[in-house]
């Protein structure tokens, strides 16, 4: 386990800020203690410092996971955000999308969100802006990228995609293995 290098930190924060903007500092300075990111086996883990201390006792090959895994760095050093980070993205999300109950299941299967399934969308969403997807009951379902701006969403036909799927909670069942 090692701390992130500057470059890695930059890459990751860029990715995160797509979804939560400048609220990243809220992730680090929390009222209940300082939290930090650490890299282990190409994956980024978010944990409090207390856990960090104890986790250092465990040898590298035996350690499987610490705190919460946010995502992983690919071989080409791009950062891919995992669904496991949803709990931290959702409360700080800047742009949100609400999905109708009918197409909730479809999104959970990994499909993109179509105009027909779109319930609500925050105003002034830019195109290709990172969004967090919610169900109508305000349960976070995953996140994605807006395919159209809010204005365009109103105009476009029902069968066109409005949100590109990136991660959803159905992955907990579909791809349990890839979480670690």
């Amino acid at each position: 386990m090692r701390p992130l290098t500057d470059e890695e930190t930059k890459t990751m924060f860029e990715k995160l800020s797509k979804y939560i903007g400048e609220n990243i500092k809220l992730l680090i300075d929390r009222p209940d203690g300082t939290y930090c990111f650490r890299l282990h086996n190409d994956r980024v883990y978010y944990m409090s410092e207390k856990i960090l201390k104890l986790a250092t006792n465990i040898s590298r090959d035996k350690l499987v996971s610490v705190g919460t895994c946010f995502g992983k760095f690919t071989k080409t050093q791009k950062f891919r955000l995992h669904i496991t980070a949803l709990d931290f993205l959702a409360p700080y999300a800047k742009f949100k999308v609400w999905v109708k109950p009918g197409s909730e299941q479809s999104f959970l299967y990994g499909n993109h969100v179509m105009k027909s399934g779109l319930g609500r969308i925050t105003e002034n969403t830019a195109q290709y802006q990172g969004v967090v997807v919610y169900s109508m009951a305000d349960v976070p379902l995953g996140f994605g990228v807006a395919a159209k701006t809010t204005q365009e969403c109103r105009k476009v036909d029902p069968m066109s995609i409005v949100v590109f799927h990136q991660a959803d909670i159905g992955e907990y069942i579909r791809s349990e293995d890839t979480l670690t």
């Binding site: 944990m47 986790a55 465990i58 499987v64 705190g67 959970l108 909670i169 907990y172 069942i173």
Partner: protein
């Protein structure tokens, strides 16, 4: 002049002489029916049987009323005796054939000896005598040696049982054709009848039938497909007899015979292997055993646990009901559990599940975490965490504060732990992949530890029927060995000086005593721990003694759960508190013993002998003391003998002294260690009081602080005073180190 017909006066006229009314179909038909019954075409056989039946009904009455003399010419000097036949009969029944032959002879000779024994049969004989001539031909034509008495007895049985006549006839025909079938059917009949009345089943005792199956019929049963219904009936009847053994047993037949038949029937009916059924018969009384086996055939209800980090039970229940799930709160004992009766959507794939609002978890898995009750801010270790249900429950009780280390030896199963932890939003967990036994080296000083040890799985047979046939002695002992190692590591990982904790919960999903009480008892001996109440107010208490083993009395505080009584998977939970971080490596005696074992090996034997000679004359008082010891300290004197692992320290068994001394003479090896110091003590005991013997026992009791009261404090002091150490060293020097 004639009578005038007065038209104004209407005379009522009934039916005329020739008028015929229809009375209704029933009445009309009854004539025909009656008619049909009349000339029923009975064979000559049946006719005779019918006559017999008519006669026999008269005769029992005659017998009961007044013991009449016999109708033949010997009535003057032949006196029918009282009905002590049962015992005598059963004794004789074992040689049934010979008996029959004798009786036949008696018939001819009008033998008096047997007649006294078999009054009923005599009457039957009389009956038979009448028929002898008639039936003689038919008997031969039958081609079978159906003794008249057998036939008569059968008839009488039929009368006492409430079967319609026609069935009897059919039965008879079948029975006469095949003797063997007769036996099997009669097994069942007999058992039923026995339950109903205490009638003398002439020559067809239940015991007899059980025995016969043992020899020839059992073998046949192996070859033929025994009807499951028959087996089930037999099981039920057998259980009934065993439950009321003194009333319903057959004389001369031991309980063990019934039990062995029951065992094999249960194995066949429920598809278990012999080993497991025998084990279960040891644990449960027979009636409960059937409940347990039945409960293992059906699934336990699906239960879920609300994740209080993300939602509340009320809200979750509402959301699920809206999805079409039928559910209920789990019980008074849980505030987060819900039981699912049925669901129109897959309960493991609802959006609520995926967003981590609940977790599918067996009800019994709630219990160890409730017993452990981790507090906020503590550091907790879960040694065998996969698939993560208990870990996440602990995290939610701790409100994501503190730290949890979730460990599992199996890397594949760890993935499910990771998945569940992330899904349920647990942030204070560290997941690692160590063998639990290495744990104290990696990290120690936890406030609480949960050990859900890998086991043989005999409590979750309903989930995995392979356990029924796949487990045997070696598996159980292997599991037990692993569990013992794990529990010691777990204890060493706990920090006894923790301000808030110092607790360990040991649990298994097994009901075997070897994996449960035995392991906890082992831990009690090996470490400074004690049992504390689990906080679970339901469930069965753990065993204090089992077969030849004796466990520490505090094991009453552990809890056992069964599928048939609590409707959850079989489970065992024990909560231990660590008293001190020091590990008692070995008590002082055995320390000395081990260090000087090799040197004084030979000499010790010599020493033993003279001492043992001393012992012998004083053996009787010691034996009485032994008795006391046995009561005072529930000891596992047998287990060290049983489990002779290399280096197993018999440190704990000073109380076995006298016993082991005797064994030591025989073996000369194993119990030398314990024998030696015991010998020293014995010498003193010969001089001193019996209380000192208790002292020796209770020295070990330093571990069992709960049991040690004032007595032991004093005794401990005494121990120090007369520490065998010095004497031992003297001896060593004497012997010539």
């Amino acid at each position: 002049m004639g009578r005038k017909l007065d038209p104004t006066v209407k005379v009522k006229r009934g039916p005329g002489r020739k008028a015929r009314k229809q009375k209704g179909a029933e009445t009309e038909l009854s004539k025909f029916l009656v008619d049909d019954d009349g000339p029923k075409k009975l064979s000559s056989r049946s006719r005779k049987r019918a006559i017999k039946r008519a006669q026999v009904t008269k005769e029992p009455k005659q017998e009961e009323k007044s013991k009449k003399g016999f109708s033949d010419e010997n009535s003057k000097w032949l006196k029918p005796t009282q009905r002590k036949r049962k015992i005598e009969q059963s004794e004789e029944d074992e040689d049934s054939d010979s008996q029959w032959e004798e009786e036949d002879d008696d018939e001819d000779e009008e033998g008096f000896v047997k007649k006294e024994m078999e009054e009923e049969d005599d009457d039957d004989e009389d009956m038979v005598d009448d028929y002898g001539a008639d039936e003689g031909d038919e008997q031969d034509s039958d081609g079978e040696e159906l003794l008249p008495i057998e036939r008569a007895a059968r008839k009488q049985k039929k009368q006492t049982s409430k079967k319609p006549g026609s069935d009897d006839d059919e039965d008879e025909d079948e029975e006469e054709e095949d003797d063997d079938d007769e036996e099997d059917e009669k097994d069942d009949l007999k058992e039923d009848e026995e339950e109903e009345e205490d009638t003398v089943q002439a020559n067809f005792d239940e015991t007899e039938t059980f025995k016969l199956p043992a020899a020839a019929d059992r073998a046949k049963e192996g070859l033929l497909q025994m009807d499951l219904q028959t087996i089930h009936q037999r099981i039920r009847d057998n259980v009934d007899v065993l439950s009321h053994f003194s009333e319903k047993r057959e004389e001369g037949k031991e309980r063990s015979e019934y039990l062995s038949l029951l065992r094999s029937d249960l194995c066949t009916y429920y598809s278990y292997n012999e080993f497991l059924i025998s084990k279960l018969m040891d644990i449960f009384p027979v009636s409960e055993l059937i409940d347990f086996l039945e409960a293992n055939e059906i699934q336990r209800p699906v239960t879920i646990r609300t994740n209080t980090l993300k939602t509340r039970r009320r809200d979750l229940a509402q959301a699920l009901i809206n999805r079409g799930v039928n559910l209920d709160p789990l019980g008074k004992w849980s505030k987060v559990g819900l039981v699912i009766y049925d669901s129109s959507v897959p309960i493991g794939a609802t959006p609520e599940y995926l967003s981590g609002q609940y977790m599918l978890q067996g009800a019994s898995s709630f219990l160890p975490v409730m017993a452990l009750s981790p507090q906020e801010g503590e550091s907790v270790l879960d040694m065998s965490a996969a698939p993560g249900g208990k870990t996440t429950y602990m995290a939610q009780l701790m409100r994501n504060t503190g730290m949890i280390v979730a460990n599992d030896a199996n890397a594949d199963r760890l993935k499910s732990v990771v998945g569940n932890i992330h899904r349920l939003g647990v942030t204070n967990a560290v997941i690692c992949n160590y063998d639990g036994r290495q744990f104290p080296k990696v990290m120690g000083g936890f406030d609480r530890v949960l050990l859900d040890a890998p086991c043989s799985g005999t409590g979750v047979i309903s989930k995995d029927p392979g356990v029924k046939t796949g487990k045997d002695e070696a598996d159980v002992l292997r599991s037990a060995h692993l569990q013992k190692e794990l529990i010691l590591s777990a204890i060493d990982s706990v920090n006894a000086d923790s301000p808030t904790g110092g607790y360990l919960v040991y649990c298994t999903c097994s009901i075997m005593v070897e994996e449960n009480e035995w392991v906890v008892d082992y831990a009690l001996k090996k470490r400074n721990v004690k049992l504390v109440p689990t906080g679970l107010d339901f469930g069965k208490e753990g065993f204090i003694r089992f077969k030849e083993r004796r466990f520490h009395p505090s094991l009453k505080l552990s809890r056992r759960f069964y599928p048939h009584s609590q409707n959850m998977d079989g489970f065992f939970v024990a909560k231990l508190k660590k008293l001190s971080n020091t590990i008692p490596t070995a008590p002082r005696e055995t320390d000395e013993v081990e260090s000087t074992k090799t040197e004084t090996a030979a000499s010790s034997e010599q020493i033993q002998k003279p001492e043992s000679k001393q012992q012998k004359p004083a053996s009787t008082p010691e034996k009485s003391n032994m008795g006391k010891k046995q009561k005072l300290k529930p000891e596992k004197s047998e287990t060290p003998i049983i489990t002779k692992k290399a280096g197993v320290k018999s440190e704990n068994k000073k109380s076995d002294g006298p016993k082991k001394a005797k064994i030591a003479k025989l073996d000369g090896e194993t119990s030398k260690k314990s024998a030696k110091p015991n010998k020293k003590q014995k010498v003193k005991e010969l001089n001193g009081d019996s209380t000192k013997e208790v002292v020796i026992e209770k020295k070990k009791g330093s571990q069992f602080e709960k049991n040690n009261k004032t007595k032991n404090k004093n005794l401990l002091k005494k121990n120090k005073n007369r520490m065998g150490k010095n004497k031992f060293k003297k001896l060593k020097n004497m012997v010539g180190q």
